[in-house]
């Protein structure tokens, strides 16, 4: 260990909420110029630890030292004054004002009592340059990609305050590969400047790419802190889950010869399907008993394609034929009636209805298909909800719990349950495993495979190529809002990457 005091030293932190112990006697040390990954499943206590460090929550016991000095973090603002900055998973900036305004918000330079715009833009530009980024800071933030917005959030966190500690909470969950690498470059640069970074993510690859040390939490307890270089990946996962990971590997589908021979029933055939500015005309066929993986970078048109097939948007070109019948009107309700379901990409905005209960969320689509007057009795609703809570292993105290109180993975399962309850023939899953922990991820992958075996047609859209490769029977690749290739399951990841990147 070094002689200089650690940047952050947490000792014996405990915190309990009514009914649950969120943290129990946890130690955590962050050194200068270190990227320290904080790992654990949902509910392991990562968020609580961060909240304590940022002053949102106060520990029941334990001490916090910054630079060797004992401190009490009173509030988020106080934590910023102490030099701790946080960038959260969801970018919480104003998309309708300029990049410069976002970065400088709260410490705008003044001249003659009004904002000195020129100086502000200059300062913002410098701040952005620090991250090796060169963009027009006078443009509204919303005109940039999510990745750039994320960078802006980071430079905002660093700006004005003498930040020593930067906390990145799931910063990469909405970034594609290239953007993630960009972010990592920035992180390494900041690290070389002596800033300590706490990095929270669900992506194992990324942890090994940038992290120096890894701290694992499980069920509110410290499992241990390890050097990234000496901790094998399998070991890490095992420590996070507290069990061996044979089932993770066992998911990949083993096809029997019989299955191969079976004539597959064509459920959905899209011909020349397209919408100007959203998706270039393409053909797509979905068969029963099959998982179609969709690979493509963020913004390649994956979500647009899903929205078109499900009827969120109406195509201006081509047709969709569902079970031999042409779709004349396009709306979610029409699709629902024909047995097509979509678990949307943006869980919070398009998926869950937060202030409704788990039960109501689960029966929502089923009730929609029944129409306005055939009412599912409360008893029937509870039966259906209980069935899917059990089937999908949704962790909730009861079916009357508000869905917003559930963890991300469980919310995802609730949305999945909502659609399974309607017994769809085609299930489109847009990023179903984003932002959820390894265990839940594996469960959802397993479920998709099982559903396909039962005869459903699944469309699996994901940014994680590895999981697309593992569970898909066929893989369609999108690039620049266009379908560029389709592979059968034997394709290797190199070919896929090259196709996605357009270098083939």
């Amino acid at each position: 260990m070094t002689d200089t005091p650690a940047l952050v030293k947490l000792q014996g932190i405990s915190k309990s909420f009514p009914g649950v112990v969120a943290l129990e006697d946890v130690d955590f040390i962050l050194n200068k110029g270190e990227i320290h990954a904080l790992m654990g499943e949902n509910g392991a206590g990562k968020s609580t630890l961060i909240k304590i460090l940022t002053g949102v929550e106060h520990p029941d016991s334990g001490t916090i030292e910054l630079d060797g000095k004992l401190v009490q973090v009173r509030s988020p603002q106080h934590s910023q004054e102490l030099g701790i900055s946080t960038v959260y998973q969801e970018v919480n900036l104003c998309t309708n004002v300029s990049v410069a305004e976002n970065i400088m918000l709260g410490h705008e330079p003044h001249r003659f009592g009004s904002i000195d715009w020129r100086k502000m833009n200059e300062m913002a530009h410098m701040a952005i340059n620090r991250l090796s980024l060169d963009i027009d800071v006078t443009q509204p933030l919303g005109s940039f990609s999510v990745a750039i917005q994320q960078m802006v959030a980071i430079s905002r966190a660093l700006e004005g305050l003498s930040s020593q500690v930067l906390i990145l909470d799931e910063p990469t969950s909405s970034l594609d590969m290239h953007e993630t690498n960009l972010l990592f470059d920035v992180m390494r640069k900041l690290k070389s400047e002596g800033i300590g970074i706490i990095f929270i993510t669900h992506f194992l690859d990324q942890v090994y790419q940038v992290a120096d040390r890894i701290t694992v939490l499980r069920n509110g307890k410290l499992v241990g802190t390890y050097k990234a270089a000496t901790l094998a990946r399998v070991e890490l996962v095992a420590k996070m889950l507290g069990r061996n990971l044979t089932d993770l590997n066992a998911i990949s589908k083993v096809k029997t010869q019989e299955e191969e021979k079976k004539e597959k029933e064509l459920l959905v055939a899209a011909k020349d399907l397209g919408l100007k500015g959203s998706l270039e005309p393409m053909d797509l066929e979905l068969y029963a008993h099959e998982i179609l993986g969709i690979a493509g970078l963020l913004g390649s048109g994956r979500t647009e394609m899903a929205d078109l097939i499900f009827g969120i948007d109406s195509p201006d070109n081509g047709t969709i034929v569902v079970c031999g019948e042409i779709m004349k009107r396009h709306s979610p309700l029409e699709s629902l009636k024909r047995g097509i379901a979509l678990c949307p990409e943006d869980r919070k905005a398009e998926g869950i209805v937060g202030d409704l209960t788990v039960r109501e969320n689960i029966i929502l689509a089923l009730q929609a298909s029944y129409g306005w007057f055939k009412f599912l009795s409360k008893q029937r609703q509870t039966e259906i909800a209980e069935k899917y809570i059990k089937l999908l292993g949704i962790v909730t105290p009861s079916s009357d719990q508000l869905v917003k109180n559930l963890s991300g993975g469980n919310q995802q399962k609730v949305i999945l349950a909502r659609w399974l309850a309607t017994n769809p023939r085609v299930l489109i899953l847009d990023e179903p495993t984003r932002g959820i922990d390894v265990g839940a991820k594996a469960e959802i992958q397993k479920l998709v495979v099982e559903l396909a075996e039962e005869g459903k047609s699944c469309v699996f859209i994901s940014s994680e190529m590895e999981e697309v490769l593992r569970i898909s029977d066929r893989i369609a690749v999108l690039r620049d809002h266009k379908k560029v290739a389709e592979y059968s399951c034997g394709v290797d990841d190199k070919t896929l990457i090259h196709t996605m990147a357009g270098e083939l």
């Binding site: 398009e350 937060g354 202030d355 409704l356 689509a365 929609a368 009412f375």
Partner: protein, 370 residues
Amino acid sequence: MRQKSFLGRFRESQLFWPLVAWVIILIFNAFVDPSFFKIGIMPDPVYGNHLYGNLIDVFNNGAPLILVAIGMTMVIATGGIDLSVGAVIAISAAMGAVLINPALGNKLISNEILTKDATNTPLAIIILADLAAGTLCGLWNGFLVSRVRIQPMVATLILMVAGRGIAQLITNGQIMTIYYTPYFWFGNGYILGLPVSIYIVAVVLLLGWLLVRKTPIGLFIESVGINAKATYYSGINEQNVKLLAYAFCGFCGAIAGLILSSYVHSADGNNNGLYYELDAILSVVIGGTLMTGGRFSMLASAIGAVVIWTFTVTIYSLGVPANALLAAKAVLVLVVILLYSDYSRRLINRLFERRRGIRHDTAIPRDTAS
């Protein structure tokens, strides 16, 4: 797990806070003016003997507001707002008045007509026309909000302003006096000693309850109010849900206009139902339905309207001049908003928890003994 006591469940229900507010006003009256609670029997040759007293007045005079508050609840639950209900009341009243008068146009103010049941239009047609006019207004609002996608406040502002003009067009710019005995029954009649308007409110509440709790519509409305996009993604026609809510609100406004014009025997495009939209919104707020939409309770809003009227009658019976009423109401608004703020709720909840905690302790030995 311990089953929550009836009191515990009641405290979490949406009805709890508006009832508390009402009880507080009643207790205030009990100390200041016990005669507030006096209820007597009034002999009445026309409608039979009936009850009278301040409390009866609260419900009788408050009926139009209660109705409008019920409709407003549904709109607010979808995340919208309807500023036009006052104007809808005026339109409905004007519609009734114009159909009752046998002679149209400027000739209509003549003594002969004003003192006789001289209408040529059957009562059923009058009522239907009233309700249709209001519902149509609601559909118009709903169309603007759900299809044209105008902000609810702006969309309904259009009818709020234009509606009074429409009402005046209907009555040819006159304050129309109504004389038609069967029509008076809605605002002045009694059944079993209680005002007819109370029964109308009860029926509308029942209909509303059936509509939202015995069909999926209530769930759809709440879902739209919480997250319209996710609701649409779930296959629910979010536009029609909104359309229905505004139409229902217009329908409620129409009934309110019917009762109000029947009560005052006239239709006045400028003043019928003036500021009712604001009182209705306040009722919904007192009833605990969030202005951002979501979970709602029509009954709680109805109690909210009762709170406002009880307060109004209290102020009057204290002898406060009518023109000071608005100032007094402002105080009520302030108190309600303070009482409903997160801070004071936490404070009050903590008081409850502490009391319950003590009870728990004393209950434990008994539990373990058995």
